[in-house]
């Protein structure tokens, strides 16, 4: 049995970098796919709305764990063997896209209909209405819930440990296997997650206050 020491701590912090990287991939990928999804959800064309909401409901009704298994083991057996970070990034992207798409749809729909009418009367086409009138107002509304969701993503990256991706949670298990001090180790791991997430929570709350001013 090895005594828990500073090297272990360094190892955990190294692994936390991967947690951050995976979070960033998930968030960037989720945003890239989520915005088009949100726009499809409010499309004038029924088929597009149905496709987008079908995707969202499917993903929201599936545990992230299953998405991870599917993209790592499932695709692997079909001959598309992905390295763990790619499989985890893919799963988390699909997952985040569904949730961000739904959050942002709400923010687009929260812009009053009269804003559409007023810009319509000024002759703006639908693209211009989105870009210059509606989305800038949605953005303001979207920041607090989006930052809030980022917290969820950071914590959910821990599930990637099940496909062998060594991020913070997996690193905690590995250290525990050699030291067997679960209470101390997982307290430290939890504390590192807290340090990553708490600033985001604070930011979300601050932004929420800021957005409410003058409304």
């Amino acid at each position: 049995m090895i005594q828990l020491n500073a090297n272990h701590l360094v190892y955990l912090l190294e692994a936390a970098k991967w947690t951050v990287l995976l979070s960033l991939i998930a968030f960037a990928g989720g945003a890239l796919v989520g915005l088009p999804l949100a726009l499809l959800r409010v499309s004038k064309i029924r088929l597009l709305r149905l496709l987008a909401s079908g995707y969202i409901q499917l993903i929201q009704g599936t545990p992230l764990l299953i998405l991870l298994f599917l993209s790592y083991f499932g695709l692997g057996i079909m001959g598309y063997k992905l390295v763990p970070i790619v499989a985890a990034g893919l799963s988390l992207t699909l997952y985040a896209a569904a949730f961000l798409g739904e959050i942002w749809r709400g923010c687009i729909e929260a812009v009053p209909k009269t804003q559409w009418e007023a810009s319509d009367c000024l002759g703006l086409n639908r693209f211009q209405q989105y870009v210059y009138v509606v989305l800038p107002q949605s953005l303001r509304l979207a920041i607090p819930p989006t930052v809030g969701f980022m917290v969820q993503i950071v914590k959910n990256t821990s599930l990637a440990s099940v496909i062998g991706f060594v991020e913070l949670a997996r690193a905690g298990q590995i250290v525990n296997n050699s030291t067997f001090e679960p209470f101390a180790i997982f307290t430290i791991v939890g504390a590192i997650y807290f340090v990553l997430c708490y600033p985001l929570s604070l930011a979300a709350r601050a932004l929420e206050r800021k957005t409410n001013v003058g409304r």
Binding site: T114, C121, G123, Y132
Partner: protein
């Protein structure tokens, strides 16, 4: 009940317009003409169809029957090519101002000038300054809508519409959300516009304004044009009991 003046210089021609929301018939064969330079006041109780009529003229609602012609283009049918042209000829001002809250007063006005009329930023700015002078708000050019009073916001909304040089301006109960003092400042701007020869169709509860400024008063009741005629004449001598009662209750 349609009282066509049938004048040759009509800029807006409305005939036999039918508008239904589901089973509810909101406009039931409405028709009248508006001559260039005329100010028309549409009055009536809530639910008489007056705001819906205005929204149909603005192309915000489609109609189920009849025709609406503005500056020679037919509007009111879905997806009509005339729509883009209509936007160039008709300005609309709403009860709730509907300024863009994330943009300054200046950008509220220049947005459509640069995007739709493809003006340069400088030309659009000059135009914004010009229309703000008309509504007496030159000093508010860099303000955001939330920093303005309701009356000021509404005057900016009028300026925003004016900047596109429309041939017809539509006003949908533009003073209903304002207290009397602010109402007066907005009405003053509208009177000024009327004097400058702008063709205006206003849905209003301000009978005083209708009396002073309108050339033509249209009293709507149950989705129909119940009475129509020159303001002074009509308001002094209502012909139907409904209008008599309405005029009485509004004074």
């Amino acid at each position: 009940m349609s009282a066509d003046k049938g004048s040759d210089d009509a800029i807006v021609r409305i005939s036999d317009v039918i508008k239904e929301f589901g089973a509810l018939r909101v406009l039931d064969g409405v028709g009248f003409d508006v001559a260039r330079g005329q100010t028309v006041a549409i009055v009536g109780r809530s639910g008489s169809g007056k705001s819906t009529l205005l929204r149909c003229i603005a192309g915000l609602e489609t109609v189920q029957g009849g025709t609406i012609e503005v500056c020679g283009h037919e509007v009111g049918r879905p997806g009509s090519a005339a729509r883009a042209q209509l936007r160039r000829d008709v300005g609309m001002v709403f009860q709730s101002y509907n300024l863009f809250p994330h943009l300054t007063v200046e950008r509220n006005i220049t947005l459509a000038l640069t995007l739709v009329k493809k003006q340069s930023r400088d030309a659009a700015r000059a135009q914004a300054a010009e229309v703000l002078r008309l509504v007496g708000l030159t000093d508010k050019i860099d303000s955001y809508p939330e920093q303005l009073s309701g009356g000021q916001q509404q005057r900016v909304a009028i300026a925003r519409s004016l900047a596109l040089s429309p041939q017809v301006m539509l006003f949908d109960e533009v003073t209903s959300a304002l207290d009397p003092e602010l109402t007066a400042e907005v009405l003053a701007v509208m009177e000024d516009l009327a004097r400058r020869g702008m063709t205006m169709i206003t849905v209003t509860h301000e009978m005083g304004f209708a009396r002073r400024v309108a050339d033509l008063v249209v009293f709507m009741h149950k989705g129909k044009v119940w009475e129509i005629g020159p303001a002074a004449e009509l308001l002094a001598k209502p012909r139907t009991p409904e209008f008599t009662q309405f005029v009485g209750s509004e004074l």
